[in-house]
C-alpha cells in the first residue's frame, strides 16, 4: 500500500488559539479515512490546510511526494485533490449543470478566444465537458433537475451536488466535510453506499469528516480523532472506538 498524503506536524494558530497543533498522519492510496472529533476540534481547519485555503503556521503536507503546503488552492485542486465544504459552498446562482461544468476547469484548457470564437478545438472540448457533466449528474441522481439553480435544492441534494462538483475535477483524493449533515437516516444510508460506489468507480482516496459516528464506523477503513487541535488517536474503527481518550473527548464526559 502506498502512502498518498503525508502530513507532518501540521499546525495552524489563530491568534492564541491552536486550531491545529502538530498533527501528523498518513493517508494510504485508496482508503477511506475518517476524521472525527467534537465541534471546534480543528477538523475543518485541517481540511482547509490540506487544500490551501488556510495557510499553515507550521509543518508540511506532501502529496505523492510533492509538497502541497504553500501552494494556492487552485494549484492543489489542479493536482487532483477535490473537496466539499461543511457549510455547502455551491455556486448557488448557477444551475446544477453549470456547477458540475465549472470544476472541469482544470481538465480543460480552452481560453478566452477559443471560447468566444468557437474554435473547433474548444467546441470539441465543450462537448466533452457537457457529456461528462451529464454523466456525473446522472450518477448523483440530479440529471432531471440539471437546469435548476443550486440554491433551490434541498440540503441532501446540495450535498450530493457538491460531491458531484468535486468529482468533476477528476480528483484522486476527495475530501468530504460532513457530507451527511442535514440528511435523514435513509439518506445517510444512501450516502454510505454512494461513497463506496464512487471510490470504486473513480479509484478515489477519500477523507471524510463526519459527526454521525455509526456512519463513520461503518464506512471508514481508518479513523483519526482530533480534540482541541491535537490528534489523539489514529487507527481502524474498532480500535479507535475503544480508546478511552476518544470516548472521553467525543462521546461526552460525565
Amino acid at each position: 500500500m502506498t502512502v498518498l498524503l503525508e502530513a507532518h506536524q501540521l499546525s495552524r494558530y489563530f491568534g492564541g488559539l491552536k486550531a491545529v497543533n502538530n498533527v501528523s498522519f498518513q493517508v494510504n492510496d485508496g482508503e477511506i479515512f475518517g476524521l472525527i472529533g467534537p465541534n471546534g476540534a480543528g477538523k475543518t481547519t485541517l481540511f482547509n490546510l490540506m487544500t490551501g485555503l488556510t495557510p499553515v503556521s507550521g509543518g508540511t503536507l506532501h502529496y505523492r511526494g510533492e509538497r502541497l503546503t504553500g501552494l494556492p488552492p487552485y494549484r492543489i485542486a489542479g493536482m487532483g485533490i477535490g473537496r466539499t465544504f461543511q457549510n455547502i459552498r455551491l455556486f448557488k446562482g448557477l444551475s446544477a449543470l453549470e456547477n458540475v461544468k465549472v470544476s472541469q476547469h482544470v481538465t480543460t484548457k480552452s481560453g478566452l478566444w477559443g471560447g468566444v470564437f468557437c474554435t473547433p478545438a474548444s467546441r470539441a472540448e465543450e462537448k466533452r465537458v457537457d457529456e461528462k457533466a451529464w454523466e456525473l449528474l446522472h450518477l448523483i441522481g440530479l440529471a432531471d433537475r440539471a437546469t435548476e439553480l443550486a440554491a433551490n435544492f434541498s440540503y441532501g441534494d446540495q450535498r450530493r451536488l457538491e460531491i458531484g462538483r468535486a468529482l468533476a475535477l477528476e480528483p484522486q483524493v476527495l475530501l468530504l466535510d460532513e457530507p451527511a449533515a442535514g440528511m435523514n437516516a435513509a439518506e445517510k444510508r444512501g450516502l454510505t453506499a454512494f461513497v463506496r460506489e464512487i471510490r470504486k468507480e473513480f479509484k478515489l482516496t477519500i477523507l471524510l469528516i463526519e459527526h454521525h459516528v455509526p456512519l463513520v464506523m461503518n464506512l471508514c477503513d481508518r479513523i483519526a480523532v482530533l480534540n482541541f487541535g491535537e490528534l489523539i488517536a489514529v487507527g481502524n474503527p474498532a480500535d479507535v472506538q475503544k480508546d478511552p481518550a476518544v470516548i472521553e473527548a467525543y462521546l461526552g464526559a460525565e
Binding site: P73, Y74, R89, F91, S103, H105, V106, V116
Partner: protein, 303 residues
C-alpha cells in the same frame, strides 16, 4: 424616419454608447468585482484618439491613412487601456466589494487630475477640433452599433464558455472556485482588462462623436452613473447593463419637457427603481417573462 433620426440620432447613439460603458462594468461584475474604473479608461481612450487625431506628430499618418486612422485609434486606445488595466488591476483586485469600488474611484480621480494638468491633454480646456469620421451624429451608430453587437455576441459566447464559467464561479463563491482549480486572480484581472479595453475603445470612438475631449469626461460622477446603470439595469445578465445604460442615459432627455424639475424627477426614478426592481430592469423583465410563461403552462428550464 429620417427626421426622427435627425431629432434623436445623437440621443440614440448616446444610449448605445452608455450601454457599452455599462457593459464594461459587467465583465468585472461577472467575477463579482465591483470596479468603477471604466470612466478612467474611457477618458484615456478618448485622449488617445483625440491626440492621434489632432497633434502634429501624427499628421503624416492621418494624411496617408485616411479613414483607416480611426480603427487604428480604437486599437491603440484598447491596447493602452488594457496595459494600464493590467498594471492597476493586479494590485487593486486583491480588494473586495466596496473597497475595490473605492480604489477604482480613486484611480479615476487621480487620472482625471493628471489629465487636467498635462500639456498633451490640453489642460483644462482639453482637446478640440477632433477630426470627424461622419457628418451626422446619427451616423456614429455605425461605429458604436457594431461594437455593441460584437460585445453582445462576445458576452453571449463568453457566458457559456470555459472562461465565462470561471468568471461566474468566482462571482458566486471565490473561495470555492479557487478550491475547484480556478485561479481567481488571473480571471479577475482578465475580466478587469476586458472591461477596461472596452471602455478605452468606446472612449476612442466618443472623441470624434463629441467633437472635443477634456478632463470632465471621466469623473467620479460618471463612476457613480455607471454603477447606477448596472444596478438599475440588473447585474446578473448582460442585458441588465445594456438596458440600464441605455435607459438611464435617455432619462434626462425624456424628462426634458419637465424643464426645471427634470433632474428632481430623475433622482426619484432612481430611488423608486431601486426599491421596486431590486433585481434591476432585466431581473424584473425576467420575472415578468417567467410569470407569463407559467400562466401559459410553460416552465422555465427543463430539458
Amino acid at each position: 424616419m429620417n427626421d426622427f433620426l435627425q431629432n434623436n440620432g445623437f440621443l440614440i447613439v448616446t444610449m448605445v454608447q452608455q450601454a457599452l460603458l455599462a457593459m464594461s462594468l459587467y465583465y468585472p461584475l461577472m467575477c463579482g468585482q465591483l470596479s468603477l474604473a471604466s470612466p478612467g479608461f474611457y477618458a484615456l481612450g478618448g485622449y488617445v484618439a483625440a491626440i492621434i487625431g489632432t497633434i502634429e506628430y501624427f499628421a503624416p499618418w492621418r494624411d496617408s491613412l485616411g479613414w483607416v486612422i480611426f480603427p487604428l485609434e480604437w486599437l491603440a486606445a484598447g491596447i493602452i487601456s488594457g496595459i494600464l488595466a493590467l498594471l492597476v488591476g493586479i494590485p487593486a483586485l486583491r480588494l473586495r466589494g466596496i473597497y475595490l469600488a473605492l480604489a477604482t474611484i480613486a484611480f479615476v480621480e487621480i487620472l482625471r487630475v493628471i489629465c487636467l494638468n498635462l500639456t498633451i491633454t490640453g489642460g483644462a480646456i482639453g482637446i478640440f477640433g477632433v477630426p470627424q469620421l461622419f457628418e451626422s451624429r446619427w451616423s456614429y451608430i455605425w461605429t458604436f452599433g457594431p461594437l455593441l453587437i460584437l460585445m453582445l455576441l462576445f458576452s453571449y459566447r463568453l457566458d457559456c464558455s470555459r472562461v465565462g464559467r470561471a468568471f461566474k464561479a468566482i462571482r458566486e463563491d471565490e473561495l470555492a472556485a479557487d478550491a475547484m482549480g480556478i485561479n481567481p486572480t488571473r480571471y479577475k484581472v482578465l475580466a478587469f482588462v476586458i472591461g477596461a479595453m472596452l471602455a478605452g475603445v468606446v472612449g476612442a470612438m466618443s472623441a470624434p462623436f463629441l467633437n472635443t475631449w477634456n478632463a470632465r469626461q471621466g469623473t467620479f460622477d460618471a463612476s457613480i452613473a455607471y454603477l447606477a446603470y448596472v444596478l438599475i439595469g440588473g447585474s446578473r445578465s448582460m442585458w441588465g447593463p445594456l438596458l440600464g445604460g441605455a435607459l438611464l442615459a435617455a432619462l434626462p432627455e425624456i424628462l426634458r419637457p419637465l424643464k426645471d424639475s427634470r433632474l428632481i424627477i430623475n433622482g426619484l426614478v432612481l430611488v423608486f427603481a431601486s426599491i421596486y426592481m431590486p433585481q434591476g430592469i432585466a431581473g424584473a423583465l425576467g420575472k415578468l417573462r417567467d410569470n407569463v410563461g407559467r400562466s401559459f403552462g410553460f416552465f422555465r428550464g427543463g430539458k
